[in-house]
Each structure stands twice: as C-alpha cells, then as structure tokens.
C-alpha cells in the first residue's frame, strides 16, 4: 500500500533570511577590507624601500639643508613608520595619491583618464575570447580525441608559450608594417584625436554616441590587433578550462537522464551540460578578465596604448613613485572587485550556493 508521507522538501533548518543575508554581506565586506588594507600595506612598504629619495625628487638636487628638512617634515617622513602608514591609508581612502612628477597633475586624475583605455581593450579582448573560447572548449570536450580537440590543445599550448610583447611586435610588423590592414600603435590616427567628445573615455563607445562612424572605424582598426592578441590569450585559457569542466559534467548521471528522456545531443550538451558548466566558468572568465586588465602592461607598452599599464611602466622607469603606487592600488582594487563580483554571480547562478 502506498501512503502519502510527511517528508518535506529540504529537511535543513532554515535561518531567518535577513539574518543570514546580513551575515553574508558583512563577511564579504570584512574579507575585502582586510585584503585591501593588506594590499595597501604591501604597496606602502614597496614605496618605502624604494632606493629613491622622495624628498630629493621634490626639492631638487641643489636644495639647501633647511629646505630639505622642511620638505622632509612636510611629507611626514619624521614620524614613525606606523603613523606614516595610517596617513597613507587616510590619503588613499580620500582618493588622494599625491601628485605625479611626470604629468604634474594629481595621480587620481591621471588614473581616471587612463583607466577607460585599459577597460576598453580588456573588455573587447574578453568578449572575443569568450565568444570563441567557450564553443571551442565545448566542442573539444564533446569530440574528445578528434582533430578539433587536438586543434584546441595546440591553440592553447601556443597561447601559453608565446611572449605577448614579442608576438605583438610581429603582429605590428606583419599587419601594420607589411600588409597595412590595421591601424598602428595608439588608439587613433593623429588627426582623429579629440574629434569626438569624451563621455565614457572609451573611444568605441564615445564615437558611437557621437554618431561619428569615421572615428569609430579608425578606432576599430587600432584596437583590433591588441584586443585580438589579448583575446587569443583569454581564448587559450577559457577553452582549456571549458573543456575540462565539460568532460567532468558529461560523465555525470543526469546527462544520461537527459538522453533517456529523448533529448537531442545538442540539447544535452548546450542546455544540460553547459548549464552546469556555466557556474564554474563565470569564475574563470572573471579571472581571465582581471588577468587581461593587468596583463595589458606589456601589450600597452608595445602598442603605445595610453592605459593604466603603460602609465605604470612609464612612471616606474622615471621613478614617479606616487604614480606607480596609485596605479598599483587601482589595479589591485579592480582585481579584488572582480573576485567579489564573480563570487556574487556564483551565488546567483548556482542554486546550491544559496
């Protein structure tokens, strides 16, 4: 005799939702805070052990002792290290990174100016990388051992082995120097610079907003090579990870269930398996995006792309410490934020994480 039973779905004890929500948020905030302060501390220490005298770089070599002393005190260098760190912390939280020696402007202003260029480059790179990398990884997993699987493997291995600054140079040589298919270094040809008003700082978006297709086309011809290069690196990583996630999922029993139901192989792969791969893949894409934001240091140098990477390296080579520290903090901050963002997405997409 079958009887109706009293088993309830989800035997777990439920906490009040508000309480667990507040707890979750405060935990995240605490982690972020500790990581950020740690990050700032490391940056601070790097700034202090620099073999460059920050006073000298302000007052100049020929300053008298009195002037030197005054500047020394003004910078707070006579205070104990811990106090100096607290002052540094306070400045950073007010968004004050000091003045850049190179541009003679506040570092924060410089950063706001250069960051959109990097964001534009990394975003275009990631979009191309995901659009190509995910399908490549899925097909490689489904057709394990086929020519496309081998192709995906070779593509990834080459991506992992190629120095970005070298292949960037070769790309410029071939596609710009020899074939003339793409624009050269920089974001625009010189006579298009400052034609469209800067709204977002991303020229692709700004030119579209202004409806100026000529500038847009020129911007595309300039971004396509560096972004394509970054896209290749993100494709190599994303396709590899997608493949291994897919292989893991295709072995699961619910895949057999889906086949037993009579679903087509396409529905099994793209709806059921990829639906489960989506969750860990978000983290991978976020990581790769963060990697492109920072990894663009070398790419930006090669392509004279006026983004944050180029800003930091130029500042480094001319001992512009405020600019270096400010840039490092911002890049680190973006990194941390992306991590939190992917954590949040994870919680949204994976019903088990709730």
């Amino acid at each position: 005799m079958a009887t109706t039973t009293t088993i309830e779905p989800g035997k777990r004890r439920r906490k009040p939702p508000l309480f667990s929500w507040i707890k979750g948020i405060s935990q995240v905030l605490f982690t972020v805070l500790v990581t950020m302060v740690g990050l700032l501390f490391v940056t601070f220490i790097i700034g202090r052990v620099m073999p460059i005298d920050p006073v000298l770089s302000i007052v100049g070599e020929s300053a008298t002792n009195d002037v030197y002393e005054a500047a020394y005190r003004e910078l707070g260098l006579d205070k104990p290290l811990f106090m100096q760190f607290l002052i540094f912390l306070g400045d950073v939280f007010r968004g004050d990174f000091g003045e850049s020696l190179l541009t003679a402007r506040p570092v924060s202003e410089d950063l706001i100016r250069v960051f959109p260029a990097t964001l534009e480059l990394a975003t275009v790179g990631t979009i191309i990388g995901v659009l190509l990398g995910v399908p490549l990884g899925v097909i490689a997993a489904v057709k394990q051992g086929s020519w496309i699987d081998h192709l995906a493997r070779v593509v990834a291995l080459i991506g992992y082995s190629m120095p970005v600054f070298w292949i960037g140079l070769i790309g410029l040589l071939v596609f710009y120097g020899m074939l003339g298919w793409v624009g050269g270094p920089g974001r625009l040809d010189i006579f298009y610079v400052d034609v469209v008003p800067s709204v977002t700082g991303m020229i692709l978006v700004d030119s579209l907003l202004a409806g100026d297709m000529v500038v847009f086309k020129n911007a595309v011809s300039h971004i396509i090579l560096p972004a394509g290069l970054l896209a290749y690196y993100s494709l190599a990583y994303i396709s590899r990870m997608t493949r291994s996630f897919m292989l893991e999922q295709l072995d699961q029993e619910y895949i057999t269930t889906a086949r037993v139901k009579g679903l087509s192989e396409n529905a099994v792969i793209w709806r059921h398996a990829l639906g489960n791969v989506k969750v860990p893949l978000i983290t991978v894409i976020a990581l790769s995006y963060a990697g492109l934001l920072e990894g663009s240091v070398l790419t930006e140098t090669i392509f004279a792309w006026p983004g944050i990477g180029l800003y930091i390296t130029t500042a480094l080579l001319s001992a512009d410490m405020n600019a270096v520290l400010g840039g490092t903090v911002v890049v680190g901050l973006v990194f941390v934020c992306l991590n939190i963002f992917s954590d949040l997405l994870y919680k949204i997409f994976d019903p088990r994480a709730k």
């Binding site: 079958a2 039973t5 029993e253 619910y254 057999t256 009579g262």
Partner: protein
Amino acid sequence: MSTLLEVRNLSVKFPTRSGMFEAVRDISFSLGKERLGIVGESGSGKSITGRSILRLIRPPGILKADRIDLQGTDLLTLSEKQMRDIRGHKISMIMQDPKFSLNPVMRIGEQICEAYRLHNKASKSQARQKTLDMLDAVMIRDPLRVFKAYPHEMSGGMAQRVMIAMMLIPDPQILIADEPTSALDVTVQKEVLEIMDKLVRERGMGLIFISHDLNVVSAFCDRVLIMYAGRIVETCPADKLHEAKHPYTQGLLNSLPQLEKPVDRLEVLQRDEAWRSAPSIDSIVNTQAKQ
C-alpha cells in the same frame, strides 16, 4: 500477454588496456506486460543490458545484437533521430541515485515539463498542469513547492519520486528501473517501490527491474533472470526463485541472512569457472507461436 520487447543475441564489449572486456555476452530475452527482474552481482552486465535497450552505450563501447524488437520495430535499424523518439516516449529508465540523475541547476518543474513537451504538443501552461498532476500521482504532498524546488532541496526518496514522475509523464510502454532504491534509506525504499509498482500496473506497462537484491525482486516481479559474467544463467518465475537450480543462484540465496532460519555463519559464494563459459539461457517467452 503480448510481447512488448524481444532482445536476441545481445552482446556489449568495451575495449580496455588489456583487450576487449565483454560486459554482456549473447543474451536473449523478451518482455511482456509483466514485471521482469534482472538479478546479478555488480559487473554481471545487468545495468549494461538496460542501457543497451535504449541504445545508450557510448563509444568506444560496442553494441551488437541480432534484433532488439519493440512491437515489430527493430530498434537497431532506427536512425539516432528516430531513436530519440523511442527514448522517453516508448521506453524510459530510472537510474540508481536520484542525487546524481537530476540536473542540479534546473528546477524540478522545468525538468519534468521538458520531458513532457518533448513528446507531446502542449503549451507551457498545459505542461505545467500535467506536471503538477504527475507529481501528485507519485504522492508528493505539495506539488507546487516541489515544482519550483531544485534537486538539492529534496530528500533521496522525494527525488526518486520526481524521477519516476519525469520518466512516466510521456506515457511510455516500458520502464527500465536500474536499482531504483539502492541509494535510498531503507525506510523509504518500500514506499518508492510501491508507488512505482502501482503506476506501472495502472498503466499496463512492462517493467524491467534491475537489482542485486533477491528478496526485493522475488517480492515485486513476475519473472526473474539471473545474470552472471554477462550471461543469463537461469530464468524462473519469481515465486519459484527459492527452488532455483543453478549453483550460482543457490549460492546467492544462501549468502543472505534469513530471519526464520538463523545460521551461525553465512555461506560464502564459491564461484565455478565453468559458469563463465556455459552458454546463455534463452529467455524468450513466445506467446504467439511456438517455434
């Protein structure tokens, strides 16, 4: 009793590093509107047999048979596309562990609706209503809540009922149940079995019940096949199981503890190499005409 399914000389092989592994070797059997049990130890080929009927042996596995006949259609001659219309629609299967056999990131309702709409032309709201009815039929108390739930929010027994609902909603004629209760708590095993049994009877379906549990099989089935090393070594009516003649079946029976006849020491099954090489027993019950 008419024959629903007839399998003739089925073999399944898997290539391994040390040569071909023959999981199923030349077995033949038939299924009517009855409950057929397939019993054997792990590795005897019983699950592979179940999956072969649905042609779910993935390469590099090799499936060979003279015929797999579903009411006059030889499944082996169908294209993969035609086969998809058989799966779920005509023959369905319930797997061992509902924890792994439900898609963890899809809502229960979505998964059942998907199965229904695949084989029936129905609007979303029709499918939804049908799904809620089906959940009710497998004795789920609060179908609406379960409809919106995710698999991890279910207990094992609940999840297996969901599985039954999902597999029966397109109204198949044959259900293959591959150890449907082995992963469940002992307390809910019986309930799940009863629900399944009731639905199968009501709908006049054929059931292939794969299990290693002799007691369950003899209680729930009409007829039993005993498999060993990829072959059928014995076949008998379920209620005559205790009179089985084959030494392997006897060995299996003797290795079970019995309340009525307690023994100090349970027998250990002694295997005979000869069982492995002996030919498979033909288990086709032909009701139309004797050959």
